[in-house]
Amino acid sequence: MTPKTLSRRTVLHGAGATIALPLLDVMSSTRLLSAAESGANTPLRMTFCYVPNGAHMPDWTPKQEGSKYDLTPTLQRLADHKEHFNVLTGLTLDGARAHGDGGGDHARSVAAFLTGAHPKKTNGADIKNGISVDQATAQEVGDATRFASLELGLEASAQAGNCDSGYSCAYASNMSWRGPTNPMSKETDPTALFDRLFAGKTVKETKRAKSAREKYRKSVLDFALEDAKRLHNQLPEVDKRKLDEYLYSVRDVEKRLNGVERLRMTEDGVPDFPRPSGVPKGLKDHSELMMDMITLAMQTDSTRIISFMFTNAGSNRSYPEIDVSEGHHELSHHGKSEHKQAQIAKINRYHVDRFAYLLSRLRQVHEGSGTLLDNSMIIYGSGISDGDRHNHDDLPIILAGSGGGRIKPGRHIRYKNGTPLCNLYLWMMQQMGAKAKTFGDSNAVLDKLG
């Protein structure tokens, strides 16, 4: 050990019990997490934030293009960050269109949002969607971190009833899909997320030795794997699919168990952040706590790929905290009613405020010569444009962060209407190091970003 290099643990202790975020710069070179191992200096991250029911577009789309544009009433809420994001206009999600399947735009728009696929209309049997951009990327480059990706949100999966016009709730509640038949459930509890990221890794003076139960985790998983393999041969195709999911998940968890040892997370400890207690009641507090967790996860390089759903598709929740007592979905069918449009815009601003909070948090974390936000690509948007028309072109999309210098932010970029949203995803995947040549319905790599 050279005298100038400290383990993070030493630093934490040296500074006493409280080290506030952000971490000291001196530590970046000793981050034992994979950044150093993979040889890259600063990792690049991507995050996808989804909001339901489209937006009130007249309040969203800037009139001018380029860097000298005026913020619209909704985007005004991001004024502090104007130099750190681009507004992308004209992007389109063709997979969310009906294509003869009739109603169900909301479920479709979530299912397609990150996949670009046209989901098969079914209430359950033979669910089929596409693979989502976060998962496709994670499968190629996710090995670098403890969690290949995280899937987060504020609302658990729907509890009863039909979610949308003959579409299973699996479509309406999940935007991350590991494969065409495998939705990735989201974590909505910040406490559980914190524990998942950091349990047993906080720095305490006293801790318990490992119990036998803990020590043999890997043997337990091996046993399960063996069981599953034996079973696999006996089952018909429809059951095999389910067991494949099981096998994949066991292997994934196993990799993570090994990873803990490899990455020496217990030695490194975690940034000092109080463990959340439970799920806060209001959307504001809940979302902000989740965004703190997103920041922590990226800061500790626990993952580089995150998806985050504010609500499930077609959410009809009301927002009494901002005096919107009607349901969001109900309002979004505004029929040009000025009252309803005003309410929609209000909800849009409320969501954008939460996004502004995330950007602030990411900007507070210094990394190398910039901030965490500088080294990120953060998408915010919806798979529906106008809630009344249910159209899936000219979507409201923001791309925040400089992507480690790959993006020139601070602009409103207008693309030809109809340009596949997947062109943007393809570009992002390539920046992350994935070798993809196409993604979803992409027909080119999106230009004008750099």
């Binding site: 109603g103 009863a160 709730c169 006293t206």
Partner: protein, 829 residues
């Protein structure tokens, strides 16, 4: 718990209450006496007392009653018929094509193709043969619904008389859903189902006695066909596997007591944080150029032997190495630091609990200017100690689950491996809901042996083997062995154990109890009398609260109540407590109809409900005092039946107003099983500016558009009949300044006026449709897959069975359990 004496011989059956003189009331919780700590019923999940779900008297005779069944073709006759019909498939197809060409096509030309021609968005013309219709079954089923509801053809087209309508409907049905109920209709195949959250928690409770609350935090189970137990939709992402692994670890730790491992005290300090370090300046290492002392002060948590590790180096000079004295209290030790490179140096101290101070002193400074300089560098300090404790376990302190699961311990006569095999063999058999195989037991025993070999105890070995059981696919999934039809083409039955599992997850959302497993073992589950008797007892058992909670609250969409959020500034008497009570009213009511074996139509038109004081006050019903829910007569009031429950009326409303459309749609979806097709895109909802008059008048104007009218003339009138109830279900005669007009007309011309009429219509003229709807929803829930056209035969039969028994609830359950889709395994088409 109040149980009025019921002779145990009369206990087992759910029965027709009027066959007993005087009803006996008992309360839940009775069935599980002497069993493992009970898992909480649905009322407990909601923070309510488990004693409050009312049960009604069981009485004898149900076995006989349930046994009276339709005459069935004897086996010989069945074979004869199938032989006669064998090989006629091609002939059937030819007949179908002729039917299409000669009978259906002319009707379609006259009534449908004008709008649904070959280039229409919804084209009927493109399916130009019987085969094409069968392929596009879904669309034609929709068309059938529209025709039967008289929504199509639209009013402005050629009028269609009732006979023609009947004929058109029958033709479409026969062609689109052609399925031969005599020749082995497909029994269907459920995709490998994992336990959902509720099932997991209940199963763990029944298996280990541990109530694993964190299961609530598992990722939400996705819903398909309205329910969260559908094999196709239940996925298993890595995050869930991770949680299963955590859960297994926690659960076996609770179920089996093993002494906790010792605590480890472990601190590390940067040297500049030590007491007295200030004068040596900053930087990451501390350098003493002349003799001096720094101290480590620590509050140690227990008495034991501690090890101090100094990461240190020295600038060497003179004739001896750098020497450091480490001292605490009266104990002191000298260590030599002979290297210029940092290395670890360790000293042990025995400390009592409390504040300790260790002085670290550089004691042999040596300095010759410009020639020699001996210095001491301290890079890092670490202090560790492991708690030493004696683990004595008093047998009386062991949890009940521990003694139940570990019923054998090794002794001189019983080697550890044999004891392990017995314990884990029983545990795995219960967990896998079938006898564990020798191979499985051997592997588990081996795993436990490995733990013991590494120094673990017998119990710790069992724990680890139990963990393996709890993450095994045989536990997580309801595994059913694949089967193929025999030469006759008859669908093969699932095994007895698989049947036991299907039954218990249907009625209890949990694993089979020992009795059910024993019945499976003895092959008694296919003996009708024994099966029905057991099913009757299962319905009375408190565990069937889970059926009420999981089936009824999803069927009626009560789970969505939490999402509705009525505006409390408008609906001042509404709050979250009332919301929970509303839901409880409906579930308790449903449980009563089930447990008293009442006709299922009582769900629609019963003249009683269950209330407590706060909820009665909310409704404005007098004479109910106390928090206990009790049966309350509604005779002479406008209320009675599900349609008038505040829970249902609230969940179908918007936050600030009622929604006749949502209410109408709810009735069509959930009570009549005729879901209206989704609204076409780009249809604006009600808009205040352009439309005039009351809500009803505005909706009527809105409906002028024929594209909207087809569906809305089904939904809206039903919703209007319920307009006397506001958005939280309270009675009103005016909506703002407008009078309520609750009259309505079904598309077939049936006129009704208000909720009384609507309720009566549904429970009488539409009785079979309602029962069929309930049967189909319940079948979906029971078999964990959506129903397909070939399930029609089974549903027809279930409906027949139930009708013969005056629509009584328990017979519906029995008929579903006896149906082919439940008893057999078919295949995917």
């Amino acid at each position: 718990m109040t149980i009025h004496a019921i002779p145990s011989t009369q206990m087992p059956l759910i029965v027709l209450a009027e066959s007993l003189p005087g009803r006996v009331e008992c309360r839940s919780g009775t069935e599980r006496e002497g069993e493992a700590p009970a898992e909480p019923g649905f009322l407990v999940h909601q923070g309510l007392s488990r004693d409050s779900l009312l049960l009604r008297s069981p009485a004898p005779r149900i076995a006989q009653l349930l046994l009276m069944k339709t005459f069935r073709l004897g086996p010989i006759l069945t074979i004869l018929v199938s032989v006669l019909l064998a090989g006629t498939a091609r002939a059937d197809q030819a007949i179908d094509e002729a039917t299409y060409r000669d009978a259906l096509l002319p009707l379609l030309r006259t009534y449908c193709f004008d709008c649904h021609g070959s280039d229409a968005e919804i084209s009927l013309e493109n399916d130009a043969s019987a085969t094409a219709i069968q392929k596009n079954r879904k669309r034609w089923t929709q068309a059938l619904t529209m025709v039967r509801l008289k929504s199509m053809p639209p009013e402005d087209g050629d009028p269609m008389d009732d006979a023609t309508r009947q004929r058109l409907g029958d033709l479409i049905e026969n062609l689109a859903n052609a399925v031969d109920c005599v020749r082995n209709p497909n029994a269907g195949k459920v995709a490998l189902r994992r336990l959902n959250r509720n099932e997991y928690r209940n199963t763990i409770a029944d298996l280990t006695g541990v109530d694993y609350l964190p299961a609530e935090g598992f990722p939400g189970d996705d819903v398909g066909y309205g329910f969260d137990n559908i094999g196709d939709v239940l996925s298993l992402p890595p995050i869930l596997m991770e949680k299963y692994l955590d859960a297994a670890e926690y659960i076996v730790g609770k179920a089996i007591y093993t002494p906790p491992p010792p605590e480890i005290y472990d601190i590390e300090r940067a040297p500049n944080s030590l007491t007295g370090a200030k004068k040596y300046g900053g930087g990451s290492r501390l350098t003493m150029a002349s003799s001096g002392t720094v101290s480590l002060e620590a509050e140690v948590p227990f008495a034991t032997l501690y090890t101090l590790t100094l990461h240190a180096s020295g600038d060497q000079a003179g004739d001896e190495p750098v020497k450091v004295e480490v001292k605490s209290g009266r104990v002191k030790k000298i260590i030599e630091v002979p290297s210029e490179k940092p290395a670890d140096y360790q000293v042990d101290f025995r400390f009592g609990r409390g504040k300790q101070k260790i002085d670290i002193s550089f004691i042999n400074d040596y300095y010759v200017p410009n020639k020699a300089d001996r210095n001491f560098h301290l890079h890092h300090v670490k202090l560790t100690g492991t708690e030493s404790k004696i683990n004595y376990v008093n047998d009386d302190d062991l949890p009940a689950s521990h003694r139940r699961i570990i019923f054998v311990t090794p002794s001189e006569k019983i080697p550890a491996d044999r004891a392990t095999a017995e314990v884990i063999g029983r545990f795995a058999s219960r967990a896998f809901r079938r006898p564990a195989t020798n191979g499985e037991v051997a592997r588990l025993t081996e795993l436990a042996a490995r733990v013991r070999k590494d120094g673990g105890s017998y119990e710790e070995g069992i724990q680890v083997a139990m963990q393996a059981v709890l993450v095994s696919p045989h536990f997580i999934f309801k595994v059913e062995q694949p089967r193929t039809a025999d030469a006759s083409g008859a669908m093969p039955p699932v095994s007895d154990y698989e049947l036991a599992t299907r039954i218990s997850y249907f009625l209890w959302s949990s694993m089979p109890d020992d009795e059910l497993l024993l019945m499976a073992h003895r092959g008694q589950l296919r003996e009708r009398a024994k099966l029905l008797e057991k099913v009757g007892r299962m319905l009375i058992d408190r565990r069937s609260n889970q059926f009420v909670e999981n089936f009824a609250s999803q069927w009626l969409q009560l789970r969505n109540l939490d999402l509705v959020k009525p505006d409390q500034r408008v609906f001042r008497s509404y709050n979250e407590q009332i919301r929970d009570l509303m839901r409880r009213e409906t579930l308790t009511f449903f449980a009563a109809v089930m447990r008293e074996n009442r006709p299922v139509t009582d769900l629609l038109d019963a003249d009683f409900t269950y209330l407590n004081e706060p909820l009665a006050k909310f409704y404005g019903i007098r004479g109910v005092s106390g928090d206990q829910f009790r049966r309350v007569s509604l005779a002479g009031t406008a209320r009675g039946g599900l349609l008038t429950h505040a829970s249902v009326l609230t969940v179908t409303s918007n936050p600030t107003r009622t929604s006749p459309v949502k209410r109408g749609k709810w009735v069509l979806d959930n009570l009549l099983n005729t879901p209206p097709p989704p609204a076409p895109a780009n249809v604006p909802e009600l808009e205040r500016g352009k439309l005039q008059g009351t809500l009803r008048e505005r909706m009527e104007q809105h409906r002028k558009d024929p594209a909207c009218a087809a569906c809305h003339k089904m939904m809206d009138p039903i919703g209007f009949a319920l307009e006397n109830f506001d958005a939280v279900g309270l009675w009103r005669s005016r909506d703002g300044s407008d009078d309520i007009d609750p009259r309505g007309t079904f598309p077939d011309g049936t006129v009704f006026n208000g909720v009384d009429d609507l309720r009566r219509l549904l429970a009488s003229e539409r009785r079979d449709q309602f029962t069929r709807c309930l049967a189909e929803k319940m079948l979906i829930y029971a078999i964990g897959r959506g129903t397909e056209y070939y399930d029609k035969c089974a549903i027809d039969k279930i409906l027949d069975d139930v009708k013969k028994q005056n629509y009584r609830f328990a017979y519906l359950i029995a008929a579903i359990i006896e149906s082919d889709p439940f008893q057999k395994q078919g295949f995917r088409e």
